[in-house]
């Protein structure tokens, strides 16, 4: 072996060891650190919510929290009953679901079972536009158009009420329900549908007796995800439902949801360190638990009851 040859070999090996070797060792570490940011975000959310919520729960008695008296901004003796917020959230979510579930499901049935490919190809992207519009735009629409329209039908309706944002939120969620349940319906094997058609069923009978039963887990999962989405929705309710903290079941009146409580309180002067400031995180924690439970239920349903073909 000549000297020259070993030189070259050494140079190459040094090159590999020093330059490429280091880069190849550093990059995985770099990517791992970047990937852990998402985990850190989750940890950050949980830690900030839990620590500040803990301060709230230790400052306010349980009997006060589970009461219907909510007056966080009162100068003397503010009270922090959460029930009006939970009540408002549930009622507005329920109104939204009354709109989104029937309309979304039937739209999905139409698109997957009845519509011609051409209609489907044109309609679906337009429906997606509904889902892509920022929620602040829906808030504006609810407050300046839907509410005045409803007022002419229901004269007792207040200018801020639960009905209008509920309906508009439902319309916003139609594409979510429609596209998720349509995916579930399309996953039903063609042979099942064709078998039923061959036996003389009409398309409607195929849809009701074959497609819906087979796709039911995906359809219900889409409903649950829609509920989760509605619970977390903020701007529509903040604008159109106002900030009344009364405990009421009257949908013609103003109600506050958990999300709009957070927005109202932060855009006001929530002094750091006050019970009011910590109440934000307590409400945030409860809101997060609500949506998390809904998502886990949705995942569970679609995993557990999925029909395997």
């Amino acid at each position: 072996m000549s000297d020259r040859e070993t030189d070259v070999r050494e140079i190459i090996q040094n090159n590999i060891r020093n330059k490429k070797g280091i880069v190849n060792k550093i990059m995985p570490v770099f990517f791992f650190i970047m990937a852990s940011v998402s985990v850190l975000t989750t940890i950050g959310i949980i830690v900030t919510l839990v620590t500040d919520a803990y301060k709230f729960f230790s400052a306010v008695g349980l009997s006060e929290i589970f009461s219907t008296r909510l007056a966080p901004l009162r100068a003397e003796d503010p009270t922090f009953g959460i029930l009006p917020l939970i009540n408002g959230t549930i009622i507005i979510t329920a109104i939204a679901m009354l709109v989104a579930i029937p309309l979304g499901l039937t739209a999905a049935l139409y698109l997957s079972q009845f519509a011609s490919p051409r209609v489907r190809k044109t309609v679906k992207p337009i429906l997606e536009v509904l889902a892509g519009i920022p929620t602040i735009v829906y808030g504006f629409f609810a407050y300046t158009f839907v509410t005045p329209m409803l007022m002419s039908l229901i004269p007792t309706l207040e200018s801020k009420n639960a009905l209008s944002p509920g309906i508009v939120m439902g319309i916003m969620i139609i594409p979510l329900v429609a596209s998720l349940s349509e995916d579930a319906m399309n996953a039903v094997p063609e042979i099942l549908k064709e078998g039923s058609l061959a036996l003389g069923s009409t398309k409607l009978e195929v849809a009701i007796k074959v497609v819906i039963p087979s796709a039911i887990s995906g359809i219900i999962a889409s409903f649950v995800l829609a509920i989760s989405r509605a619970i977390g929705e903020t701007m529509i309710v903040t604008i159109a439902s106002g900030s009344s903290k009364a405990f009421t079941f009257d949908i013609t009146r103003s109600m506050q949801t958990m999300t709009s409580y957070i927005v109202e309180f932060t855009s006001g002067d929530a002094g750091s360190g006050t019970t009011g400031y910590y109440s934000l995180y307590a409400v945030g924690l409860i809101l997060l638990s609500f949506t998390l439970v809904m998502n886990l239920i949705a995942q569970y349903i679609s995993r557990k009851y999925r029909e395997e073909y």
Binding site: P28, F30, A35, L127, T234, L287
Partner: protein, 287 residues
């Protein structure tokens, strides 16, 4: 008898087909009314003066130049932060991570993070960026909060794009003697780039229209100077729409200003989505 039953069944089929199609028609109709109302409200208010003027308490004089600059500044934080974090996470998950607990943890975490309400991200930003890091309601605090909010979108779409790169391209690269990083940098990323960009633009269009986290950070409704650095206070398009909509009680013309701002916001979103579609159709390589 049988004939009668058959007729009934066919009648029901047609009836429900039409009923079901009404749901679609209703949704499209609402979309149409929404666009019509907003455009009708903005007519006469959307002008060059409106786009180049500064905020004012007098509706006739108000312009959204500073607001648009605020949104652009916000994006100047969101774009690099989400791209670096999101694409790196996707590369790690698809190229480097061994199948196992850590990979599963990150994946489950990202899918759960995607469903956290945006207002919660606002609380995180308020506690961590605004208060702990003392960034207040600056562009930096808003941009970082927004970046975390849209991170899952970029990660998932980048993952899809990287997954779609066929493994024989990687194997060919290794066979030529390239190492892992070279393969990722020179083979995988260039092929996946159109998909990554499409996802990035979609996440950006989410960030530009998102309101709640910024309101929670305490972005003020005051008449601010046009921001000149990332530490300045700012207002963004959705924030301005929010405050103008709330204040229609005081001054009815604010509704027109809000509508005109919505038109600007929707036009920006429309352009961004068109660019995404063009990138997807023109540059995406199919295998």
């Amino acid at each position: 008898m049988d004939q009668k039953r058959l007729k009934k069944r066919l009648f029901l089929n047609d009836l429900f087909k039409n009923l079901f199609s009404l749901s679609v028609v209703f949704a499209l109709l609402v979309l149409g009314i929404l666009f019509y109302r907003i455009i009708a409200d903005s007519i006469g208010w959307l002008s060059i003066k409106f786009l180049t003027g500064n905020l004012s308490i007098f509706p006739e004089k108000a312009g959204i130049y500073g607001v648009m600059v605020g949104s652009v500044w916000l994006m100047s934080i969101v774009v690099p932060v989400t791209l670096i974090l999101g694409v790196s996470t996707a590369i790690y998950l698809e190229e480097y991570a061994k199948k196992g607990n850590i990979q599963m943890l990150i994946k489950v975490n990202i899918s759960n993070l995607a469903s956290v309400p945006s207002v919660i991200f606002g609380l995180l930003g308020l506690a961590v960026f605004s208060r702990l890091f003392n960034l207040g309601s600056s562009i930096l605090a808003g941009g970082l909060t927004m970046s975390l909010l849209v991170l899952p979108i970029v990660v998932v779409s980048s993952q899809e794009a990287i997954k779609a790169v066929p493994s024989y391209l990687r194997e060919a690269s290794y066979a030529m003697g390239a190492d892992k990083w070279t393969t990722v940098r020179r083979v995988v990323l260039p092929v996946a780039l159109p998909g990554i960009l499409t996802g990035a633009i979609l996440s950006l269009s989410r960030a530009i229209g998102e309101t709640a986290p910024l309101v929670v950070l305490g972005i003020p409704a005051l008449l601010l100077r046009v921001p000149t650095s990332v530490m300045d206070n700012f207002t963004a398009l959705p924030i301005q729409i929010y405050y103008w909509t709330l204040d229609t009680v005081l001054t009815a013309e604010y509704a027109n200003l809000a509508a005109a701002t919505i038109v600007v916001l929707l036009l920006i979103l429309f352009m961004m989505n068109s660019v995404a579609i063009v990138i997807r159709n023109k540059f995406e390589v199919k295998f």
